[in-house]
């Protein structure tokens, strides 16, 4: 308990990672389930960089963060092999039931991240591109991820 109460705020400070994530990585089994959780947290970290940059009116960090998201998005599908379920995983069964749609979503995330990086480099509409990136994240979450529930 004490370690968790120290570790959580420390993690938040180190990563500047302002999300409310409750499933801890070590609660997940080693392998694709844990790896994809870490990958998603990494995407979130870079998304936070983008969000903070936009709020600060400084788009310099956006391209790099978007490029990292684009690279990570390309790894998502492989981390959802058939049967990779777990009580603490929020992955819905629909992922494998509607695999083409899920895979298409990961590709869309890559496309939108790429577009954001391009907008940041070329002076395009970075806010609109960032909004599209969020829409890609949200769309897939709403279709294929369960709400956070406390597991026994």
């Amino acid at each position: 308990m004490r370690k968790i109460r120290i570790a959580v705020p420390l993690l938040v400070m180190l990563c500047g990672f302002a999300t409310i994530a409750y499933t801890k990585t070590d609660e997940l089994p080693a392998g694709p389930i844990r790896d994809r959780h870490e990958l998603m947290e990494g995407i979130g970290k870079n998304a936070k960089i983008i969000g903070d940059a936009l709020k600060a009116g400084n788009t310099t960090p956006v391209a790099g963060a978007a490029a990292k998201i684009q690279a990570d998005a390309g790894k998502i599908a492989a981390l959802f092999p058939p049967g990779s379920t777990h009580p603490k995983s929020r992955a819905k069964a629909e992922i494998w039931q509607e695999w083409p749609k899920f895979e298409s979503n990961t590709k869309q995330l890559q496309v939108n991240a790429d577009a954001l990086a391009a907008a940041a480099k070329d002076g395009g509409d970075v806010r609109a591109a960032a909004h599209n990136l969020f829409d890609a994240c949200k769309s897939c979450h709403d279709q294929f991820r369960m709400p956070e529930k406390k597991k026994a």
Binding site: R5, P9, K138, E148
Partner: protein, 316 residues
Amino acid sequence: MSNRKWQIADGEPINHPGVRCPVCRLKVFIPSLTFPFLATLAVAAHAAGDAERGRVIFAVAAGCGCHTPADGPVAAGGGKVATPFGTFYGPNITPDAETGIGRWSDDEIRAAIRDGLAPGKGAEAPPMPYYYYAGMSDEDVNDLIAYLRSLPAVRRQNRPAEGELPLARLAYRAWRFLFVRHETPPATAPRAEEARGRYLVDHVSLCVDCHTPRDRLGVPERSMYLAGVAHGPAGEVVPNITPHATGIGDWDTEDIYNVLTTGMLPNFDNVQGSMADVVNGHGGGPGLKDAPQSDRRAIAAYLKTVPPIDKAVEDK
């Protein structure tokens, strides 16, 4: 012992007056000899409401989601609320004369919303957060009533609760008597941003209802105001939304506003489940995203001012 009146819905975490039971260690409020519930039926509350403004109140109140089934129709009843004291289903609050509130007077609807008294039932079960709505202004509750009366009437029987306590109505009356105290609500709602934010959080949007843990008797723990709940509605984790590192300490008001408007979190993640319904509306009805921008900003501004509480929700 002090006989000072207090509200469960007061915005400040307080050590409320009362006597602590030496056996169970729970605090029990000893009511005064007056009967202030009648004060909430004061003449000022009888003014006719505005249905269009009421729609806004309904949206700010997250569409009274407990009263709307997942696929609608709006306010037709059936929203499930599971508690340690039974599973409850929000009743039909459309103006249907047989199964809804079509035959209720405005006074009866006001009493149900703010006093926890339902016609033919007496005291309502605590999942109906009347003790928070108790602070809703006369103007807002009248507008809300006008809006409810404007909804399409839906013939849909109320689903009875399951697994209730023995002598449930008596238990709810006792709970109300012991733990709830009403001040006379304001005639109109505050307008200044932080005051309005507090009013909305505590009396309309009721962030306080889901985000504040309760004790063994279902009484909100005031000392843990907005500090989150591990097993919230529908078994979901409900975050700590106080400005502490274990909560939303490093969020700014824009981050909070974005969540209330689009469901977007600062890292481009999004809320799901019950909170998504709060933002988007239940069963096709209006939600927080449809509320005035100024109200969402007021909530955001207020949440940055509440006492920070160290509580990592996943540990509970």
